[in-house]
């Protein structure tokens, strides 16, 4: 889970020195960049930001869905949701590891998250009010994530691309489980169907916002595209998402909460209405319904767990000392 909202610094095509030119030409030739390779600082920094934002999104993303683990309506759904949320933690772990290959520690990244310096996908600042929200997150949010992440399996940075392959496989399963929840609700009682519609109403727009600002406002996209760490523009991906999702909503018998949604035969795509970007920027700035709560929960978990982490380190140190003493 992750939103395309990454600042690439200040790129300038003319400032490329020879090394950068060689670097760029390797990327153009489709050669993967590996941790030991030379890379421009801006590439490194941009990737650290992008991968760590992605990792943070996985970790914070555990919370809205974790909210329903204890209340899942059947044991089968509970088992699936537990496994799904555990997968997200696993994604966080691979991604932190991928980012560490760029020369930053996990502790530093976690600290950046907890102090609010680093961002995570703003979608997780919306609340999960009903069980249908768990379905909607799988269907729409993980659906958007896949759209964004499948191209990243081919991105220029090796560790990131490889992590994405496994992440995408799991996300595809997550999306199916979300849609399956929606199918069951839509085939259920009128109250269940209303629950599903309400969830779609609340998650539709935030899911479209996940792809980031419109291309015209996304000033750093060009550099990221040249570096092949972003392979499609925000609007291209958003359009794919709309095209994929509208027929799925129709199949469920649900109405997408946008009267402007209409098939455009000339474009070969669905048209859709204007996104409220003010809401998006407001949530990114920290003013979404759950921003404070999500960070509080993460901070509390971290602070409460300090004694535990300290103890493991202390024990490992003692063991090492004992081994040294034995050897002496």
């Amino acid at each position: 889970m992750y939103a395309q909202m990454v600042d690439t610094g200040s790129p300038s095509a003319t400032s490329l020195d020879e090394r950068e030119a060689r670097f760029q030409s390797r990327i153009d030739d489709g050669i993967r960049v590996e941790p030991q390779d030379w890379m421009p600082d801006r590439y490194r920094k941009t990737l650290i930001r992008q991968i760590s934002q992605h990792a943070h999104s996985e970790i914070v993303g555990q919370l809205p869905e974790g909210n329903w683990i204890t209340r899942a309506p059947s044991l089968k759904r509970k088992a699936i949701l537990l496994a799904k949320v555990q997968d997200e933690a696993g994604h966080g772990l691979y991604l932190y590891s991928a980012a560490e290959t760029l020369g930053i520690t996990r502790d530093q990244m976690v600290d950046d998250l907890h102090t609010g310096k680093a961002k995570y996908s703003s979608i997780f600042n919306y609340p999960t009010l009903t069980w249908a929200d768990v379905g909607a997150i799988g269907w729409l949010v993980d659906g958007s994530a896949i759209m964004n992440q499948i191209p990243l399996c081919r991105c220029s940075y090796g560790p990131y691309a490889r992590a994405m392959i496994r992440v995408c496989k799991e996300e595809a399963f997550h999306m199916r489980q979300g849609y399956d929840i929606m199918l069951a609700l839509c085939a259920g009682t009128p109250e269940q169907k209303a629950m599903a519609q309400d969830a779609l109403n609340r998650w539709w727009w935030p899911s479209l916002m996940m792809f980031g600002p419109p291309d015209g406002d996304s000033v750093h996209s060009a550099q990221s595209q040249a570096w092949k760490i972003k392979l499609f523009t925000n609007d291209e991906l958003r359009q794919k998402m709309v095209d994929q999702t509208v027929p799925q909503a129709e199949h469920l018998g649900l109405v997408v909460p946008d009267p402007a949604v209409k098939w455009n035969a000339e474009r070969g795509h669905y048209d859709y209405g204007d996104i409220d970007w003010e809401e998006f920027y407001n949530v990114v700035k920290g003013n979404g319904p759950c921003n404070r709560e999500r960070l509080e929960v993460r901070n509390k978990a971290w602070t409460d767990g300090e004694w535990f982490r300290d103890a493991l380190v202390a024990h490992a140190d003692k063991q090492a000392q004992r081994l040294t003493a034995q050897a002496a």
Partner: protein, 251 residues
């Protein structure tokens, strides 16, 4: 089908279900990412065990019940889990102390059930014992690392152990259901696993530099017969809310 067998299956199934429910409360809030994943794994294993056991119990009841009707449509007085597993999570030391005492018992209990004359029960035990052996390895290892970690971690873990210890006694107290199951070769006498359990716990505590709580004192019991602490009804209120508020709905 005997009522005792049904009761017996509920006891094992409810232990796994309720402990899994408690562990699920930690999801996303563990002290480290690796812990979060590991504890969720344990919760998932226990949930899987609960589903097998409750499905078998439902079959034994023969009244159209299934795993979900048993999990979601019984009140606390009809639950048969021991008091130990329903105790609130507390801090992470409390959760781990509860887990270790349970794992050490469960691993022995499941080994006994491997030779059950009831093929279905023996088959579930065979699957579950592999999982619980791993859980026990993990929780024993954490007892040692946290007990022999910092002064603070030792103190927190010791406090947690002292607090949860009285609830371990119930694991070893038999009643008429246990007697009938033991006589039928399906189950075992709970008291018969006590010494081995205590020896194991003592060994781990010694390595962990933790003190074994004194014998005797307060020994709450009654969970196996459906007389629970105040905590269970609240846990169930949360767990059962959707099934109860949408009667007859499929999910």
């Amino acid at each position: 089908m005997s009522t005792a067998r049904y009761e017996y299956l509920l006891r094992f199934g409810d232990n796994a279900l309720i402990l899994s429910q408690r562990l699920g409360e930690w999801c996303g809030k563990g002290p480290a990412l690796e812990e979060d994943m590991a504890l969720t794994n344990v919760a998932l294993d226990l949930l899987g065990q609960a589903r097998l056991l409750l499905s078998l119990a439902a079959e034994a009841a023969g009244n159209g019940a299934d795993e979900d009707s048993l999990a979601y449509h019984r009140d606390d007085r009809a639950f048969r889990n021991v008091l130990l597993v329903e105790q609130p999570n507390g801090n992470y030391a409390d959760t781990l102390a509860r887990q270790f005492l349970f794992d050490a018992w469960s691993s022995l209990a499941l080994r006994r059930l491997l030779s059950s004359s009831d093929a279905a029960i023996a088959a579930i035990a065979e699957k579950a014992v592999k999982e619980v052996s791993y859980h026990l390895r993990r929780s024993s290892d954490l007892m040692v690392r946290l007990g022999d970690g910092t002064e603070r971690s030792r103190a927190m873990l010791q406090t947690a152990i002292d607090k949860v210890w009285p609830y371990s006694h119930e694991l070893f107290i038999g009643d008429a259901v246990d007697a009938e199951m033991t006589a039928a070769g399906i189950g075992f006498d709970p008291a018969s696993v006590h010494d081995e359990w205590l020896a194991y716990v003592r060994e781990v505590f010694a390595e962990a530099t933790l003190k074994l709580p004194a014998a005797g004192g307060w020994m709450p019991k009654g969970g196996k017969q459906g007389l629970h602490s105040e905590h269970l009804s609240k846990l169930l209120a949360e767990m059962q809310v959707l099934q109860r508020s949408h009667p007859g709905a499929s999910w």
